[in-house]
């Protein structure tokens, strides 16, 4: 996952540490714009739905509109963040979510508090105070987040790498030569082995010419480190050699 921004590190009671990518100001601003559009749409719908009663009860309709629009504007974020586990329509669209600073789901008090403090973040115009607070805060928190101890994180799905690329498509002849496998494990630097694995996992993302060139260089280096006999590499593509070496390198010794 590529994320150049800040991270929130969380340690669970089980002692496991994980990181959550924090949402940046631009994504949050765009999500807010979508939410404003949603609020405007609901307000328009309320005005439209109550229009039929205007001639009959103009004062009551005006009062209902006034209060309902205020309630929608003030309650939209609170209701959705509470029921949608920290998300609103805008945040869902931008794959963002509000979470407790400890990585937990928001409590109702946190939901209300962070939204009650929104007027201060919006001062004087265009969320300037909130934006400055986010820039200065280690966890990109606006004042409402600081008050409620919340953060906004990105929740983009992270697919599991295609592990099948690690599987040698043909028989791995290196498995018949335990001494060569042992030499490979000893001679190939761990960083180079990791690089080879990552190259295999990302092969489909590469341009064909670049992929051929990359595996050619890798295979040459692995041949040299492992002093691979020519009969074990003859007739095999460079990528196949890299697959076989990775398979042998990370396979549990039998």
């Amino acid at each position: 996952m590529i994320h150049d921004g800040r991270w929130l590190e969380v340690e669970t009671p089980e002692g496991v540490v994980f990181s959550l990518p924090l949402a940046g100001p631009v994504a949050r601003f765009l999500a807010w714009q979508i939410d404003l559009a949603a609020i405007a749409a609901v307000a328009t719908a309320i005005a439209y739905l109550t229009r039929w009663a205007w001639d009959l009860l103009p004062d009551t309709v005006a009062a209902v509109n006034y209060v309902a629009i205020f309630v929608v504007a003030a309650g939209y974020h609170m209701l959705l963040e509470w029921r949608w586990r920290g998300a609103t329509i805008g945040k869902r669209a931008l794959r963002l979510r509000v979470v407790d600073r400890r990585g937990l789901r928001l409590s109702p008090v946190q939901v209300v508090l962070r939204n009650l403090l929104r007027p201060v973040d919006q001062l004087p115009l265009f969320n300037l105070v909130g934006g400055v607070a986010m820039g200065l805060s280690r966890h990109a928190q606006r004042l409402g987040d600081l008050g409620a101890n919340t953060v906004v994180v990105r929740v983009a799905p992270v697919p599991l790498p295609p592990v099948e690329h690690l599987t040698p498509p043909r028989y791995n002849s290196l498995r018949d030569r335990p001494h060569i496998e042992a030499r490979l494990r000893r001679a190939v630097p761990p960083a180079a082995a990791v690089l080879a694995v990552r190259a295999l996992l990302r092969r489909d993302e590469m341009d064909a010419a670049a992929r051929v060139e990359l595996f050619r260089e890798m295979a040459a280096a692995l041949r040299q480190w492992g002093a691979l006999p020519p009969e074990l590499t003859a007739g095999r593509s460079d990528e196949q050699i890299v697959r076989n070496v990775v398979d042998s390198y990370f396979r549990a010794p039998s």
């Binding site: 996952m1 969380v10 669970t12 089980e14 002692g15 496991v16 994980f18 990181s19 959550l20 004062d59 005006a62 009062a63 209902v64 006034y66 209060v67 205020f70 003030a74 029921r83 949608w84 586990r85 979470v99 407790d100 600073r101 990585g103 937990l104 789901r105 409590s107 109702p108 008090v109 946190q110 209300v112 508090l113 009650l116 403090l117 929104r118 007027p119 201060v120 004042l143 600081l146 008050g147 409620a148 101890n149 929740v155 799905p157 992270v158 599991l160 790498p161 592990v163 690690l166 599987t167 761990p190 082995a193 990791v194 694995v197 990552r198 996992l201 398979d247 990370f250 396979r251 549990a252």
Partner: protein, 337 residues
């Protein structure tokens, strides 16, 4: 250390996929109730995948697999621990009768400070108008207050005699407008607590200045009975509501500043949060009541409604409100944290 990467991925992947499937199902329907067996299975899977994440630190393909597991564990962690920390059920009547007055008393220092700031504003506004009557339009920059008090009383009473019926024309929308405006002021007073209380105090002071100037303006013009009859019915509720908003802001400021509390800021804020919400909830309830009174009672004057009756209603409300906040919830003791 995981030596056989492929075997590790192949062996553990079904568990990760099951956890992902279960999380997706829960996330897709936030209103769904999760059964006990599902909770147990989720917890079990969470612990296993968390252990895999710890192992994945040793993996050759650390970044890809770890990112996947971290995202999975983060989702499961938020859900599993949220299920363990289910908040107590909100009981509106208990809150109104006991918890709100308790919060007001528990945070009495902030309440007294808010009242003092507002009171200082009243004195300042009154004194400023007495010292410089020409500053009237600056001290009360609202159209409906620009008329001289005697002229206004004359006009209002003439309208009453002519059968002017505000309730039949625009009382509802007027009440709604007042409600929204006052709730906004109360919310802003609370939110400005994030300025370490300076904004809250300034807002309370300003509102006090306007009220002080209005009071002196009418008293000096000999319209004290009209003023009391006009302001007391709704003001006896509306002003305490705004003070509750200010009190909430000062509680927030106190949690930010520490104020002798040696706990971490986040812990102080977490502890103050429920009281801040209670105070603001109280302000909102009072403002709904005040808006109704202002639209349907305060705007009616003699000869339709005698000033004495309106003043009596206002005084009774003040006494009732004071008794509620002073004694409400004393029998119930402190709520469990």
């Amino acid at each position: 250390m995981i030596v056989d990467l492929r075997r590790f991925l192949e062996r553990r992947r079904p568990l990760w996929e099951e956890l992902d499937r279960r999380l997706r199902a829960v996330e897709a329907d936030p209103f769904a109730r999760i059964g006990l067996d599902d909770i147990r299975r989720l917890h079990d899977l969470y612990e296993q995948v968390a252990a895999d994440l710890a192992d994945a630190r040793e993996l050759a393909v650390r970044t890809e697999v770890r990112d996947h597991l971290e995202a999975l564990v983060a989702r499961a962690y938020a859900l599993v621990y949220a299920l363990e920390e289910t908040p107590a059920r909100f009981r509106p009547l208990r809150w109104l009768a006991a918890e709100l007055p308790q919060a007001v008393r528990r945070r009495a220092r902030a309440g007294v400070t808010a009242a003092a700031a507002f009171g200082a504003g009243v004195l300042l506004g009154g004194a400023a108008l007495l010292a410089d009557p020409s500053a009237r339009s600056h001290l009360m920059p609202f159209d409906h207050l620009q008329l001289h008090p005697a002229e206004r009383v004359l006009a209002e009473e003439r309208q009453m005699r002519a059968g002017g019926d505000l309730a039949g024309e625009q009382a509802g929308s007027f009440a709604a407008m007042l409600l929204v405006n006052n709730v906004r002021v109360s919310l802003l007073a609370a939110a400005l607590g994030m300025t370490f209380g300076a904004g809250t105090l300034a807002l309370l002071l300003y509102n006090g200045v306007v009220l002080g100037a209005v009071c002196v303006d009418f008293v000096v013009a000999g319209q004290t009975a009209f003023l009391a009859g006009w302001l007391l019915p709704h003001g006896s509720v509306e002003i305490p509501a705004i003070l509750l908003g200010g009190q909430a802001g000062l509680v927030l400021a106190s949690a930010l500043l520490g104020d002798g509390d040696r706990r971490r800021r986040v812990d102080r804020l977490a502890a103050a949060g429920p009281d801040i919400l209670s105070l603001l909830g109280g302000a909102a309830v009072l403002l709904v009541w005040a808006a109704g009174l202002e639209a349907f009672l305060s705007q009616y004057h003699e000869p339709i409604l005698p000033y004495g009756l309106k003043i009596a209603i206002g005084l009774m409300q003040t006494a009732g409100l004071a008794a509620w906040l002073a004694f409400g919830g004393r029998w119930a003791g402190r709520p469990a944290p």
